[in-house]
Amino acid sequence: MSWVWFHKLGSPPHFYRIAGKLVPWFAWPALLLCLAGLVMGLGMAPADYQQGEGYRIIFVHAPAAWLSLMIYSMMATYAAIGLIWRINVCHALAASCAGVGASFTLVALVTGSLWGRPMWGTYWEWDPRLTSELVLLFLYLGYMGLRGAIDDTSRADRASAVLAIVGVVNVPIIHYSVLWWNSLHQAPSIMQMKKPTMPPSMYVPLLLMLLGFTLYFVAILLVRARGEVLRRERTARWVGESLGAGEAA
């Protein structure tokens, strides 16, 4: 089997072209899945017998929380590949992951705190999972801050890659330390409550939303990475050619 396609993906012009072609293949299914998930989740799923209608925020909260963690590990993977094999496109992908991941983390935090209002009676409960989301947000912000503070793109790429790798080693440690911290300090009775197993009318829309959010993330990542590649290669000739600068010149 030939690996030419793989090496082509590492070359900015090819990545730019292929990513552009791939975007609609992720964006449209994402839109359809999210629409279907929202209609089923908000309209057709029954109200929860304990939490009433309030639980429906899970259809946004859970996918966002899942993505926030997945994107961080993905960012660290891209960063490691970029650092080890010096593939510029991977650095561009890692850089594009950060903003999206931080946004999803913020969405997970905000929806989690809104959900906490009817469930726990406060907007902010030091619930272990919400707390580790908060620390994850700080990790994202640190990554973006380091990237922003270094002017030289190549140095920014490699320094932030080291940070992302250190971070990804720490994420599980932070998660479990926060988990044990709260479970040893106080045992909130509300968290002891076993979640009733979900009926299909609830988990099917949740699954659809999860898939829809993931595809949306891939689409938005490709769009952002294309922009990032263009920014990095702005002096290269292929950029002018592919953007049709020939006519202007």
Binding site: R155, A159, V162, L163, I174, S177, W180, W181
Partner: protein, 242 residues
Amino acid sequence: MALSPNNVRPADPLDSQAPGVLRAAGLLVQRDLRLALRRPGEWLQPLLFFLVVTTLFPLGTNPELSRLRDMAPPALWVAALLSSLLALELLFREDAQDGSLEQLAVSGLPLPGLLAAKTAVHWLLTGLPLVVVAPLASTMLGAPVAAIPGVLASLLLGSIALSLIGAVGAGLTLGLRRGGVLLALLVLPLAVPVLIFGAQATTHAIALEPMTGSMYLLGALAVLAASLAPLAVAAAVRISLE
């Protein structure tokens, strides 16, 4: 080339005379200690900061003994965290400015080992003094005298982990204009586990309860940091020096 006796010696004549990494690290420790002892102000300041911050906590509330005792572990640990952050500026800055860090990087010796030695000196100068004044601070915060050994032990392990984690951040922000604030943003989230288990151990110590569990976890964090952080520090410093 014929194998004459002249060619038996190693290809690089520098190699045979160059010190091993252990010897180099020992020399580095001596040099850094000597330099630091000539300017005691620099590394005494974070220590003073620690004492001042722990004094401020009781002033911000009603200094009832039972309340102070509840507050002592977070106050001690947050103050230790912040003062270790302040001290991190001293770790590489001078050596980066006068070029000696670059000399270490091109010396051909394993950089993680050399930087681990530098971090060890940094801990001796900023972490260990914290541990030494901790009895004072914890007594001011209402901890019983019997709790002091436990408080000392938890800070001893925790400050090792904090120095090592902080060194990664210091390496990454080396030579950046807005380094100080960024350093805090990078290091503090990574230090969350140390804070949690450290404060937990201190809480148990002050309540005169067994603290083995949190000490094991704190020790695990210190060992993990000691084995992995030097590699990350070396990578970060190399990137920053280019």
